[in-house]
Symmetry: C2
Subunit: 488 residues, 2 copies
Amino acid sequence: MIGLMITGRPSPQREASGAIVELPAQLAGDALIDGQSPPADSYLIDWSRDRRGRARFIVRPGSVEDVQALVRWCSQSSVAIVVQGGNTGLVGGALPDNSDYAVLSLERLNRIRCVDPLDFTLQADAGAVLQDVKDAAEASDMTFPLALGAQGSCTIGGNVATNAGGINVLRYGMTRDLVLGLETVLLDGTLWNGMNGLRKDNRGYSLKQLMIGSEGTLGVVTGVEVRLSPRPTQVETAYVGLGSFRQTCELFRMARHLCSDLLSAFEVIGEECLPLAHLIDPNLRSPLTQACPVHAIVELACGPGIDAGGLLETMLTRALEAELIRDGVVAQSRSQAATFWAIREGLVEGQARRGFHVRTDLSVRLSEVPKLVEQARACIVREWPGWTSLTYGHAGDGNIHFNVLPPIDCEIGEARTVGQAVLTRLYELVGALGGSFSAEHGVGRSRSDVFWAGLSQRERQIHTAIKAAFDPAGLFNPGCLMPDRGDL
Amino acid sequence: MIGLMITGRPSPQREASGAIVELPAQLAGDALIDGQSPPADSYLIDWSRDRRGRARFIVRPGSVEDVQALVRWCSQSSVAIVVQGGNTGLVGGALPDNSDYAVLSLERLNRIRCVDPLDFTLQADAGAVLQDVKDAAEASDMTFPLALGAQGSCTIGGNVATNAGGINVLRYGMTRDLVLGLETVLLDGTLWNGMNGLRKDNRGYSLKQLMIGSEGTLGVVTGVEVRLSPRPTQVETAYVGLGSFRQTCELFRMARHLCSDLLSAFEVIGEECLPLAHLIDPNLRSPLTQACPVHAIVELACGPGIDAGGLLETMLTRALEAELIRDGVVAQSRSQAATFWAIREGLVEGQARRGFHVRTDLSVRLSEVPKLVEQARACIVREWPGWTSLTYGHAGDGNIHFNVLPPIDCEIGEARTVGQAVLTRLYELVGALGGSFSAEHGVGRSRSDVFWAGLSQRERQIHTAIKAAFDPAGLFNPGCLMPDRGDL
């Protein structure tokens, strides 16, 4: 009990009847879902279906003012808030694990506010779905280049909270690089409005950059202004086969030099991943005419006045001559290009279809990718025979999803236990290479222990002090990113 | 005396004879310059020659270990530290105004540590001169695209401290977007090493992003790892004349759409600036055949396999047809392009030659540039007849250096007094447009009052708490960016 009092979170407002009381009127009714009712499930089970959360209630405000009212109420009532966008995160950052907490779902705060073709900007509510943001940009002859598997469900606010990455980072950067401004509700319910659309603004510490990637622990982002780019009118896609990950490094280097800054994607897929795509659709077959240990999808995008097809052909011809690639196919149409990408997406879905698997999101220097893959594969073969390594990811960013499947007949309990050991080993390995265990997915709840354990005492102090600067009561997403204050 | 004790900075270590004592041995001798000796002048007068600083001593460590020893000593002795790179800042951020403070010059910590062509990265000591960083990248067939007038003197550490901008921001971003990692000495003398070369790393709050642009108030950056881009093999430059700043907005939009992401510079120069370039060299003349109110330099850069010249010609032809430009010249050689850029650089030097002038660094939304310029010009004409408005800057970033020259016969004291009123008025104006008074130069000492006054109470608390998280004793660059603690 003392611990509970210290954390400053008394039991929340529920009458003996079980009804939630005292919430401002506009947050009751349709906006409110009891955490123990069946409709709560879709908010408390995430995309991966790995984890089930708990919450006292879910509230779905329909305006920024209502978010402010809720935060004010939670602040006064010492109720912790876990903000949720599309609930597509993979590290439990938006899933509370405490039935005293409130889930603040931004699903009703989902408007595109405006698109400006002179400024190349777009403003949206934080709950706007990424695909809707992309469509709105497209409709004005521009592009919002953030592209990831979950784009039909994830929200722009969630992208900001996690500093989302995806397949076009090598050209356009992470979410961090695409955000011009944020509108944020602070702990006292006041609105911090940085939606000024400025491309350059060197006034003081960058609170915007601090907020991006803070995983809902510093405030509630309610609005986002992003920079747009001109819509590419040409997209050229190649699917190539290589002998090794060392060759993908060399090919990337060559492609960067030959294709100016028009290279927009450089994805790699280990040949062993292909059977997973077949689980989703048996027609998803590599277009290569021979077996190759590593496949890569290389894409160029640009506007008019450039022979993008010729540029890609030149690059592939040189790569063949230099014996960097063994085989390659250039898509003759957008639909053929879509079949290449379907393999990349299919393997991720196929993996989920297989059920539990060890999922990582490792990054190292570009040049260290081959070493990471070699060491990780050798480690699995040596220490966990029967488990299957899968290597794919964003080689142009040094970001590899090195995942591991248990044997098909492995009992789930055993798979989880062994899986934890596998994960620990892979994190050690990436750490020894100076890399990161979280390239783009964030820390969330599932990695907060390993994150915190890896920090120096000074880094912990700094993180704790920054958290306290925004959220002295510890009410924003406790237990995410850093340990709950009760556990410190 | 009580105030002095509260700030925790007792009178520093100087014997009755005037010698500085107690510094670790490796920091004495050649490394040390007495703040009252003549050699101190070059550290205490900045590029603009507007401001003279004061310091007890200047110390020039030759290694990271020596920086750590110095910081540890200063921390133990409660001596404030002002870090200085090339001393080219324009806002007094590296110029202490207190004769108890130490200047930590990084001029001897100036090595390029390594360049990696597979990773597209470069590591350098923080005191490395920007031009040396650029040359080292170039020598390995890559480019470090940060480009600004002071690049022959400013240092990469100073660029990080101020989040420097310059002429290529529209394509490559600010310093913030180019830094992969930092090596930083914290207040206790420990080294925080984030030089991991990772392109994606979502572990916790971004201390790197917080450090960038913090103007030496959080720690001492001793090493920087930057991302490089392929070296452009083609650079095409046009000098064009337009009728108004509204047309520059339209031209920029057209150029962005037509030139993919190959547009690397889009600078504007008000016609009234030309006579300043003549002060430097009477041969610096506009290449246009007719008078035009606004001149612009537009540059494309790319690798092989693209008809960059054709792309630029197409863009200019369409702009002529759309009557966006009145006249234009495409450089036929690198040396002709250099004459275009000499006008842009000459006007800045000519301005300095004129002596005191009101210097701003304003930014607004791209689409608000015309309104900013119109309002500012009208205001000067109306309120300070005889003073001359100068408009130039980075229109592709919404960043305008709107400067104002006093009448030629204006006495310096009066010029400074009136100049302060002009500045205040211009800051009000940019504020009303939702813009920033510091696009790229930073806050420093000369703008700390206006910066602090413009923050909300919550923003001040957050800034103060972040500062305290890194520097509880207030020893890193007191008085820069935020008021000295004694003044809060």
